[in-house]
Amino acid sequence: MSWCNVGDLNRPKVHFFIHKYLLNQILSCCDVVNLAYFNSLDKCHCKQIVKLNKSAILTNIKKLWCLHKPTYHGSSWDYSHGSDTHSVCLATFTAWCNSHLRKAGTQIENIEEDFRDGLKLMLLLEVISGERLAKPERGKMRVHKISNVNKALDFIASKGVKLVSIGAEEIVDGNAKMTLGMIWTIILRFAIQDISVEETSAKEGLLLWCQRKTAPYKNVNIQNFHISWKDGLGFCALIHRHRPELIDYGKLRKDDPMTNLNTAFDVAEKYLDIPKMLDAEDIVGTARPDEKAIMTYVSSFYHAFSGAQKAETAANRICKVLAVNQENEQLMEDYEKLASDLLEWIRRTIPWLENRLPENTMQAMQQKLEDFRDYRRLHKPPKVQEKCQLEINFNTLQTKLRLSNRPAFMPSEGKMVSDINNAWGSLEGAEKGYEEWLLNEIRRLERLDHLAEKFRQKAAIHEAWTEGKEEMLQKRDYETASLSDIKALLKKHEAFESDLAAHQDRVEQIAAIAQELNELDYYDSPSVNARCQRICDQWDALGALTQKRSEALQRTEKLLETIDQLYLEFAKRAAPFNNWMEGAMEDLQDTFIVHTIEEIQGLSTAHEQFKATLPEADKERLAILGIHNEIAKIVQTYHVNMAGTNPYTTINPQEINAKWDKVRQLVPQRDQALIEEHARQQNNERLRRQFANQANVIGPWIQNKMEEIGRISIEMHGTLEDQLTHLRQYEKSIVNYKPKIDQLEGDHQLIQEALIFDNKHTNYTMEHIRVGWEQLLTTIARTINEIENQILTRDAKGISQEQLNEFRASFNHFDRDHSGTLGAEEFKACLISLGFDIANDAQGENEFSRIMSIVDPNRMGIVTFQAFIDFMSRETADTDTADQVMASFKVLAGDKNYILADELRRELPPDQADYCIARMAPYCGPDAVPGALDYMSFSTALYGESDL
């Protein structure tokens, strides 16, 4: 930056330049708090501050300018200083020069020698001033050196420094005094003169700066540029004031100047980029340090610390001015932006409002209306506000510019307020009538939608109704239908026809609606028309099909009725005929069981009669088959698919024929069977007669014999022995009769094999004969046995023949059925007749029971004559036979209770004696002797008794 170029501060352009060039630097160093404060202020406050700061900045810049005007007060080198001072100055100046030259990448060793050619001098000036000097001469000649030194001196002179008595020749010649004087002049002009605090001289300014900066440090008192700095605390305080982190000031002591000075110089060299210009010893070791050297050193500190700060202060003030401009520029930009946006929005919106192409659907139109409503409610109002704000902003900006003496704002082309107003006008124009158009269009669409919906609904209903109707009408169901089905189908079809007629109205309505839709220019007219056409075509087709079906149904009905009539006739005649055939078959196959010739002859006669009816039946059969053939012919001729069979009967011609064949087959079979049966019956009759002839002889013979035997046993002629002889003869004659029985058995076997169960020629069956024969045999055997037993009984019991006869007479008397046995009651009566007193009370009953248990031990309920005689002989003779035997033995034993073997052998025949000895148990009584036998127990045992 060069303050020299800061020209007329009143010109805004320059102002702007400063801003652009410095803003970043200033801002980076600027007091952050200050900026923040500045930014946080509202606009109202801001204006005041801007006002104040603007003038303050201008004032300060003016001041700065004045201060930096090249004013030179003392340019002559003070030679009054001693050589010490001179060498100190030499080192300080060299260091100062090097601190600047190193920025250009060079150094000097000897200040008196190294500036002689003028090149490094020019370089130094360029670094210090930041400006370019005239191009140096490259030659090594003296004239070149003088020229270059002069250029440097001219530049210094151009900065308002009067270089009194310093000529180029002296510098080129290496005049030390001249050279140092020139350097001091440069230092004063460029390092110290810049330091100005409240319009004091450069030196005073530097001093005042030092005093103000060190004021807070009580042990530092700067009054000059020599002894005040001897203790080094001044340098340390200056550093600590600005960079407190570099020096621990509290630890420093006033009485240790060496440490203080070295600390300050080292820190400055290391952190502040200030080269070491003085040695601590140089300061401490002298009573009064060199003023110029100290000033040069301190000025370096000043530049290090204060340079930026000053720029800050200035920049802060400038900044405020710039902020106004910035704000205005922002306002201008905002205006431009807002205007552009608004215009863009208008530009976009107008075509949308001008678009009056109608939408096809209600929904789309309503969406449009919705959009328009959104536009009016949501989108346009903020734009209205924006437009208003734009005008306000424009006016505000212009006022501000006028007040701050700035040129008026001129918006870019086409973004004038008037432009915006024009555009807005167009927008309103486009908007006008849009809503009305929308509503009209919606109304139209509504009507169309309504009509179209009506059309669709009616069409849908109609289509749903017609759905499958064609198929139904084309159905050939009547071909397989029965008559009743056909009648039902006809009724159904009639119903359908009336249904169809009823639908005429709907079809007409559909056509009318389609027409209206066409007239109203419905967007989807083509599809409506196509659908309408389809419906109409289908309607015509349905009509034609209906007619066709009606005819077909009627024709079929007529055919089926004829067939039905035939079926009925068939059924009417087939049923009885079938029944007749079944009956005939049944009769023909009827297994007859006949037992007589008469019966078989009757069957033959009936069969002959039946055969006579066959030709008539065959005629009937053919007639029935004729009916069936007629039906078949009709079916074939008219192609009636008679799926159903004859509904009136299950009988079919095949069945009739099969049965007829069967009947015809059965007739000769029957003939044969009848002939066979006739022969069999004749044979049977012969067998019957054969059997009967014999049986009729044998039966009476057996009966006769039985009676004779009965008579013999009952009549009791002669003695029992006579009877026995007589019976034995009888038995012999009976046994001799056996072959006749065997022959009869043979005949009977034949009869049984011929399955003859009856025989009218005789009342005797084989079983009768057999029973009779067996009875005869058993009777004769039993009778013989009875007689024998009676003989035994009579002999054993000593019953007389008279007594026996008496018993017999009594027995026979009560044996009323001549069975040869007596029942209990008969027996009782018999006993009573023989004098037994059996009272009709409990005791009598008891007595009779006892008797019955004896005569009928097996409880058969009957009493045989033998048992009767046994009982009577027991009852009438000695009642206790065992006792009798015992008494007899007692007699033999000589009244002893036992008997000896010798006694038995002596008294009885040898075998009977042995029998007794073998069976008699030894006698165990108290009076027993060896060999004693118990005849008592033996006696009782003989009768099945024992005394216990």
Binding site: G823, A824, E845, S849, M852, D856, G944, E945, L948
Partner: protein
């Protein structure tokens, strides 16, 4: 047939005569009772049938088996007796009505 039990104190002789048995085709019957004997005192009735001896059924028993069985009883003799109710009575009831029509 009503049954009753007679217990005769032993030992024998018991004083009754046994008759019948399977081998005689006749039920085991008390055929005689000796007057004043244990059997007479024990209410044994002549003509009644012995059903069981000392609890053993007499069915299928021969005369000798029954005799031995009674002889074996040294102490008490327990006889289960059946009152001889004539089968005739039963037969009358059953058979007579059948015969009756024949009689008439």
């Amino acid at each position: 047939m009503s049954a009753y039990t007679v217990s005769l104190p032993g030992p024998g002789p018991w004083g009754f005569r046994l008759q019948g048995g399977k081998d005689f085709n006749m039920p085991l019957t008390i055929s005689r009772i000796t007057p004043g004997s244990k059997a007479a005192q024990g209410n044994l009735i002549q003509g009644d049938v012995i059903v069981a001896i000392d609890g053993v059924s007499t069915e299928g028993m021969t005369h000798l088996e029954a005799q031995n069985k009674i002889k074996m009883a040294n102490y008490n003799l327990a006889l289960t007796m059946a009152k001889f109710i004539s089968l005739v009575v039963i037969l009358q009831e059953i058979i007579v009505p059948v015969f009756t029509p024949a009689v008439v």
